[in-house]
Symmetry: D3
Subunit: 321 residues, 6 copies
């Protein structure tokens, strides 16, 4: 695999990291109207949207802060030596413009944007946005059939509804995705679940639908390699979505999020789970719930983009190419 030099990021040896208009990982900004759009293979997309948030809003500011932090990312993976930007054409496709005062309109806009990526053969790596963002993305990506999913989170996001019947919130996307046939529940695994619970309605749904839930206690007991081997087995060789909610990570390592749960993985473990994705056929991925108003130091965003770089490398692992 090799990429066109147009798509190579700017090096910190040439332009200091604090300089320049910040795009994701210092890649060229190639919105759909750009002449090189058709040549993009992996597109980094921002979805600045948090209208599905039931608690503390903020992820609408996520893409901008993630872009800013991403200028700290260099060209090569430290462990396996991959240089992803030289393998395939990567670009920052810009943000999908949401309607912050209309949830349905926003979902229509998002699905429309991703329909365009599917048509162009671009695999998306998304920076959200709250977790409801995954639903309109899946509506585009799953047009050819339900996907599997490896889902890192402290919550299942499988609830039926909130506040007396509201069905589209960041606590319900995967319930909807299963109902709409976007996900194959037998090929879905949720890892890192923890925190005090409202009740067991979400877990009962998971059980009846065949979704595998790995609690944080199980993850720590068995260890990451063992759990991730199970994850790879569950999703198999078919197309799979990777959804990474930053609140999977312990809130001390990732305070910039709206619904933290204490007692989670540290930053090394946050990277390790990604390094176990190699071999999975990743049709798309997202990093969601990064909320800058609760991340004064920017540390959460830097961890978020470090994870995005790991996922990007996983998207290029041998079995895929």
């Amino acid at each position: 695999m090799t990429s066109d030099s147009f798509f190579h990021p700017v090096s910190g040896f040439d332009l200091p990291r604090f300089a320049g208009v910040p795009t994701f990982m210092r890649l060229p900004h190639v919105p759909p109207s750009h002449p090189r759009f058709a040549d993009v293979q992996i597109g980094l997309v921002g979805v600045p949207w948090d209208s599905g948030t039931t608690n503390r809003p903020g992820p609408r500011h996520g893409p901008r802060q993630l872009r800013d932090a991403s200028t700290m990312i260099r060209a090569q993976h430290a462990v396996n030596g991959m240089r992803p930007f030289e393998m395939v054409n990567c670009a920052d496709l810009g943000d999908v413009g949401p309607n912050p005062a209309d949830i349905q309109d926003s979902m229509t806009r998002i699905t429309g944007f991703y329909d365009g990526l599917v048509a162009a053969g671009i695999r998306p790596l998304t920076a959200g946005g709250d977790h409801l963002t995954s639903l309109p993305i899946l509506r585009a990506l799953a047009k050819r059939g339900p996907l599997g999913m490896i889902h890192f989170d402290s919550h299942t996001d499988l609830f039926h509804s909130y506040f007396g019947g509201t069905m589209y919130t960041h606590g319900t996307p995967f319930r909807r995705a299963v109902e709409e046939g976007l996900l194959d529940p037998g090929r879905v695994i949720q890892i890192g679940i923890r925190g005090t619970m409202y009740d067991t309605e979400d877990r009962e749904f998971a059980k009846s639908a065949g979704i595998r839930i790995v609690t944080i206690e199980e993850l720590f007991d068995r260890g990451i390699p063992d759990v991730m081997a199970e994850a790879r087995k569950i999703v198999g060789q078919a197309p799979t979505y990777v959804s990474y909610d930053i609140d999977f990570v312990d809130p001390t390592f990732a305070p910039g999020t709206g619904t933290p749960e204490v007692g989670g993985p540290n930053s090394f473990q946050a990277l390790q789970v990604c390094r176990e994705l190699y071999g999975v056929d990743i049709a798309g991925a997202d990093m969601v719930e990064v909320s800058p108003p609760f991340d004064a130091s920017g540390g959460t965003a830097f961890l978020g983009v470090s994870i995005m770089f790991e996922i990007l490398c996983a998207m290029l692992s041998p079995s895929r190419t």
Copy 2:
């Protein structure tokens, strides 16, 4: 005028200000289900809601931070010596529970709550919430006829719609209120307007409807007493709503807000305008757009409750009783 001692706030001489469950101004918490609800004359209400925000969210956290800061408020006005809590029965009525993922449902809930206050003869002093909050409140308060309004803000909030037709945002409440007959535009004055402009659509509407706009330049040129005398003349002796957007104040004095505009009044002027409300028949009032995530020090909230105390005293000025 005199009040029942049940409704007197706790004194900082007895219980330190940092102690106790924080209610507005350390008043008793008297939700509608409380046996003393019928005896309340002025009710302080929180509306923790920001779904109409087009830019930076956060005002849903406003009521809680305002309650916290309000424990710094003492019993007596420093200049005129009024002791409002000993004049009428004041209470913290709690928060209206919004549906953060459904704007119309939230507006229905808010109007319903205020219908109950109107029925009970309670005048409301509201802590928002973004500025869309004023619309469902006005729907309840204006049931007996359109109100006048004195509106402190850096924006007119008179736009027709956003994002290709969305009609309910924090930039449109008073356009809707005029259209719905809740406000008498000839008795409306907006004070402090400034900042770069999209276009002149809002100002043209104001002009055609007869709404008086006082820019910040005019306010500073003429001085607060002269402008406020005009305001009192415009609203006359009929029932009037007072809506105070914290972004009326310069963002250095009130950074905790979502759409700041530099070059506004200082904190002394922020109080002075309230002291010129005496004599107005205030049917209700609000303090909106206080956004804790952008107010790390809490200074905005403390200014906000200091203004609320001033408005409370104005609600008790002689002409009213």
Copy 3:
């Protein structure tokens, strides 16, 4: 065990977590003057007091921030499925009003408040306050005989005096408690001790009195289950106090405290130690030294209430009922 529905907390499915007057865990506010006070079984109490602090003050603001953060706590324990609020009547009893400028007066007030709880048969779960808070509480709880204690902390708090003879500071409460016969030193274990030392005076006292000290190195070497089994054996089946100083936890996970010591447990371990308290006869417990001025993000408080929820569940473990 079952509880009266009056004592059930408000659910986040009904009222968003950011809404409402914040009480501990969204429980009803039932001060001693409340008609349902006599029905309370476990009382959550705030002691906003830090006059014993020798270094950086702030815990007087702890109860309010802990209440605020506690609205994030839901109804059910994630691992064992306990729903504590449905097992016994829990309530927020409000704050004890201290005298911030008089240590002895404050201790008298605190002991008086807890005498009332003992008389009413209410077991207290306290939110401090600096660690001197534990002393006046123990004076009430140990009226029928000395208690055992499981004490999580980075410091022993066993010093004789400070600044040339001052005997009541947050570094001396348990020295006084042993001297006053409130604790049975042979049934006391202190876990997590670390940090640079003044001298060995405190450790020599512990040794001579029979208090067991487990350093952080021993805790990490042996592991939490082994050390906690020893703790349960030391306190046995007799009534025991649990005192949890937030500085037991590593300051990266709990920066909001006055005398941090690096190199401590992470947040998962912070919860795990509580899950090993099951079976202990807990006569009362406290969470102390949470200092909001050093916890800008609120993460320390959220960890603090997460620990309080764990302790609450431990207070309801089978052997007790």
Copy 4:
């Protein structure tokens, strides 16, 4: 007037401002044990103490932050050209060591330290500490007779007692000072008083004792020169103490304080009042209530030391020498 070069501060042209062990205004550190102590004429002293604080503590950290910020102060006054450090021997005398857990012991220590300064003929410029700090200082300075006082503050600090009889808090120092004969009430003026009030007990005492209170409204109406001319007339040519509570300044300009009151002077006015002190016989002065935990940016401390520099110059004005 000329000074010994030993007492000249380090210049920012020689050593960058961020370098070096921070002393007040980069002066030599000359504690009482130092061989050059007897040669000091004006001594800058820290009193890191806040045990009298009834609300939010923090001023115990004031001296250190003020020292840090003071490395930004240069050698010459911008308007009148005075170079104070070349006129008299100035030095940083270090901090008085308080007993944070014993108010009476701390006051004894403070008075003892200042007795030593009086004996050595050193005029003190103090960095507090909360406002109770002024009382033990006055006990030393007023040994030869009661002093006049020019007092900048938003509060009178003239209350009788708090919390049911506690007589030594930061709200009572000047009540005690008048009672103890340390101040001549007929030569006392308090400027800037504002904020909501508990009651009128303090103002009635002032009136009966003959203390002049200038509210913020009067200050703004008459202007600084007119009010300060009255102040100079009230204190006359006899020895006078200057006490400057940072909460005199509007909290937007000085957020780092425990009991802010909105609607105060800006930073230019904060300096102007000092420039009107020339000609007053200043026996000593203090800058109190600077509270670093509420001043994350350090701006309050920088304003505080800028004011201290102005007061220092006023202490050297012609009539004095």
Copy 5:
């Protein structure tokens, strides 16, 4: 005057302000290599550089934060109704890449970049960078003869050298510019000078060279219109540079800067001085010393871009076109 629609910024009515890759004022990103570069008339340029800083660094991060804040700027001036982006072709030209470890190399790079703008007939509006940034810009802009300058600042930046002979720092740029013949000292005015002084070396140079210094006291005494009329008279009708150091503004309004001086103009005055630039032939302008590490809330950057918008409008005032 009219502009090409390619150069119109994105409206907040179409794309929410928090969305999109942030360029200055949401203008198109047109670096020198871009095909439309030759059509640009006014170019907004970032110079992320602070190697000349003698005190607290940070302005290297200024351009990025200013871009971020600038998405809050709308299309029209509130007072005079100008819509600058529709009058001339404006664009974000990107950043000049400095060498943070080599001052001379960086100055060469900066001058080279601006030489290109001069050659293309583009007038620059620069976002610095520390104040040394102005020197290499002036080297390019003054190629056809010395410029006049209107300089807003609290410091003269006219010193000869620092640290024993270092001649290129942010305290010396205009001394160098006069020496190099880039500025005509008789057509230079510096406004807002204040703060404690090292000595009078800079002011003596100004006096001997004929540079006019207006202290903050003179500015406040005479008022902005009068001083600015003098400024316009001094620079006359010949090409003039406008240099705006954010520390001209009071540090409470603009804390994000490295060498603050208290007692300066407020935000309204900060805008007013720009509105008095109309009629000046502005050959270029800069906004320097915005330092994000000291501006946690972003308020300084928002004020900075609000000022940049005012200067941009002044650059289009009638006399110029």
Copy 6:
């Protein structure tokens, strides 16, 4: 070993930790001009300098914040009972004054200062400063021959040059040190290396020169004791420098640094590596890259001084004396 009581630090039992002029670990301030300078055995030195920083500056403020945090350090090591200040004469030697606008001049000044320490027989423990600081120190310490080095860091700092040939940055010091013969590459080990990479140029140099690199993955796999045993073997019994870049530690535990890399050691491990230095002949040591502008809470500095105390104890381990 025993020390002169003049060199004993002030105890927190006598003077509260927040009081006093802050020196390193409350030791006496003994600059080279001080009469007791010749008696110092271990000197704590600040080098407030960051001109070699290619990314985010700030370490010039490190020494002051480290001094401030160091007042929390007590007299005795918790695990081994060492009381270092009673073993040898330790002192705070003050700061080396750099020239922030001239790298070569600064390096000359630093080397000159350390030449003086070598001449006086004082072993230095330095608080930087960015990592370029180590180079001029090594120039002084290695005068008698190349040193070994144990280097904790996430980066190798072995690059040839930046920005087209700039050879003196914080990414190049050890490349230069090897080239200049200051380090014996065969006796150098770098531990903790991680993060995305520009390329492999640094690692190839290390390999060719014989420098041992231990990645974070190897450190976690083998464990600290095993890796450190190898480190001790590599450096052997000859004089060795210890260089500790705070970015060795995970940025959640040490956010206050300019070039963080996620996935590093926690605070307990950060101390543990130092406890494995016993027996090494430490000729000098440094703690670098602590950057206060990115460490709002001060936690990084407190961790930094906790590590410095560990290193200090290691410098006194038996084999050395």
